[in-house]
Symmetry: C3
Amino acid sequence: MYVCVVQKAYQETDSVISSVSTKVKGFAFTNTSDMGPRVWDTADYVIPPQSDNSFFVMTNMVVTPTQTQSRCPELPSPSATCVDDCDCTEGHSNPQGSGIQTGLCENYSTTVQTCEVRSWCPLEIDAVLPKPALLAAAENYTVLIKNSITYPKFRFHGRNILPHINSSYLKRCEFNHATDPHCPIFRLKHIVSEAGEEFQDMAVMGGIIGIIIDWSCDLDSWAGKCYPKYSFSRLDNKHHVNNVAPGYNFRFAKYYRTADGEETRTLMKAYGIRFDVIVFGTAGKFGIVPTIVNLGAALSFLSLVSAVSDWFILNCMAKSDVYKKHKFTYLSDNSGTESISLGTSYGTE
Amino acid sequence: MYVCVVQKAYQETDSVISSVSTKVKGFAFTNTSDMGPRVWDTADYVIPPQSDNSFFVMTNMVVTPTQTQSRCPELPSPSATCVDDCDCTEGHSNPQGSGIQTGLCENYSTTVQTCEVRSWCPLEIDAVLPKPALLAAAENYTVLIKNSITYPKFRFHGRNILPHINSSYLKRCEFNHATDPHCPIFRLKHIVSEAGEEFQDMAVMGGIIGIIIDWSCDLDSWAGKCYPKYSFSRLDNKHHVNNVAPGYNFRFAKYYRTADGEETRTLMKAYGIRFDVIVFGTAGKFGIVPTIVNLGAALSFLSLVSAVSDWFILNCMAKSDVYKKHKFTYLSDNSGTESISLGTSYGTE
Amino acid sequence: MYVCVVQKAYQETDSVISSVSTKVKGFAFTNTSDMGPRVWDTADYVIPPQSDNSFFVMTNMVVTPTQTQSRCPELPSPSATCVDDCDCTEGHSNPQGSGIQTGLCENYSTTVQTCEVRSWCPLEIDAVLPKPALLAAAENYTVLIKNSITYPKFRFHGRNILPHINSSYLKRCEFNHATDPHCPIFRLKHIVSEAGEEFQDMAVMGGIIGIIIDWSCDLDSWAGKCYPKYSFSRLDNKHHVNNVAPGYNFRFAKYYRTADGEETRTLMKAYGIRFDVIVFGTAGKFGIVPTIVNLGAALSFLSLVSAVSDWFILNCMAKSDVYKKHKFTYLSDNSGTESISLGTSYGTE
């Protein structure tokens, strides 16, 4: 009972403390009218360049180069079209729009008039998404994941680059559940396909994939080694029903300054796959306290079990009469005995 | 007992695995002497552009444009003022200062002399913070939060865009505890006010707000549906007593290169609100093992209870005599009986 | 039993909800042939400028300025050297290489020919790492860590800037386990040395350090105050055996646009220390439910104990005979009594 109170029973499990670092490798080539021929390397397509438990690989994009702070007619939409200036409200900002209205109605094209907005112009036109994805070659990128973990209570340290693996193997290996289950280098296409998805489909709109590293271990000395187990699953919702803003994308800008000091920017709407590395695990180790508590509770339950099973047999089973007779014969004998014995006792008092 | 040992009892709860993505929408307009008229969009005020479980919205700033690597006199402060070069130490870097001293004492203004430092010059002057906040319009930004969760043990998947919600609703809805508790689109002002704060106050110095999504669920089939519950609270400390560096701010720079190849930068001290999306939850489901252990332990406790309550009544209660008499009468009778019965028995031996 | 079932026993502990913000201060000076004399401040060396639970401080780097999209011969390596164009495959991208091959074999130097690649040229040469680290002065940077926590179930709020600390102390204090255990300002060198590492060694290749804040508390009113406890440990693996990509580094680029509109970039391979702030803790508070369950289980176990110890004494101990005789004498007397008593009873029926 001392241990129960002082040790606050049931603490012989421990949660993992983990650190993850990732390194993506690979090149892609694009040749668009906007940007001309261009090679993309890690510094171009991993945004932000470092993060703690996830990394984003850009697979598709809408680029709007050379935007400046100015005024331009809004993109045509039911709420932006206008006939004259009265349809536009100075200072109004439509949540679906692209800027703050100036109150003027301007020609967007020869046939459509829209409200003018103050914004970064020209405006981004993201209605048409490149398909197949511009950086479709991303499927062949590889990522090295380094993961170190600690179970502080048990002073256990582990890492996903196992001690028996030598460096020449690491230079050429590639993760595969069947053949290379401990190689920490993953091909992006393989990760996505293990998660049950098609890389090229996902590359167009983007998404979120979980790389789950399970360090659940039995650290008792008689148990085996503690190795990480990898699994993969899509974390965002791929069904397009009721799906606002499907996929995964965000906008960022590269800012430039022209020779005469004016600021311009290149706006990128980046579509891509965010890989979240999720490390979890609970280590268990033999502890006398949980053993006692569980054993005790179980024992106590056993006495309940006999009572309940009796009740069950006596009342619910067919042929319960046989058992009942047998049981109660004995019981009534016994109680008879006792009453008589008591009677005798009282009599001799 | 078998189940207790092998199944390591008490594991019929499961922790959530979650993925979050966020998308902020809205425009703000500023007109300062430094930058002229300027519209701010998502790519300008969300820094960094993507992150996994939090997003930062800039609400106020101190801009120092066109800094270059050079030398300039330190900002006046008790530790930086000087009379002649002897007061300045070449190579010294004051932790409260702005760069590395060159050892010279220069005129900061016609009245003050300070030590010259090698740094990005001109130096940032952040003593005066714009009030009201420059991007006060941020209160009308909206954010769409997409959250998918999994309870791996129970193979339960959920997301905060519920199946019964249709997309036309999602185009116009806005979260409100009373009227739209399942709309995943939040107005920033509403979030902050639900956390018990005033947006415009917070916008000046910045802060951290937690958006807490609670997926605690009873997954048993007889229980109801599993829905997320949102709550909001300020996570940093708003009290200014003993508050070093109150609010939330950080510095970042945009780097430019002039026509003659010299590097310049625009330094931004960005104040704003960081929204941390905290997803938590424990799902519970009927499990035979915890049931047995808890029942057993409780049963065993019940026997303790009767002993303790007897002791309590006999010793601590007024009128305990009545009970005591009653109890002990019976007991003494009984023990009398027994002793006699035993006596008899011995006698017959 | 009611409480056990309804309250789902054992929930009187709670996990921490935490928010962290960090602010690094300090300057470093470098003078390299590439960049000339240069002072580095927080906006230069903390990448990305803000993050939720970690911060990265650059300590060393390989800078490749003025890269443009063009073609150049690959760096010499066994797989890149060639004799004529037949050795190079157009469109091939070597995972260890620097770009996408054009199919030509060019002179890398007067003695070596390598396959030409389309890439950002000139290529980065990262074979030689500056040693000592370029930003070795980073050891004197300080970081202010602000951490607020909540135990939602117990409505307990805490922060690492304790109420009894005044602001003049915070201006000059520096964390030290012995003398200033509650100062939230840490010198990077001190953090690294508490983690058992040498800062200057680690600065060359980089690494990951955990700053662990333990808020485990007994919140019962009779217990003491709830204070954070800091500890530090290296989270990545420092042993260079089998260590692919040792240390911690990543590449990022600053993009520029020349006067004639051509895009150039400065590629930085940044080595440095990522500090992960890991907040953990479980608060416990007296709860009647866990008390009952644990007591009950323990009681039940005690009855098992007596049985087991009897068995142990009777069978395993020397001199067990003495005890056995004593015990069984009494037992046989007792059973003799009973059988006789029963016999009598039967007789009188």
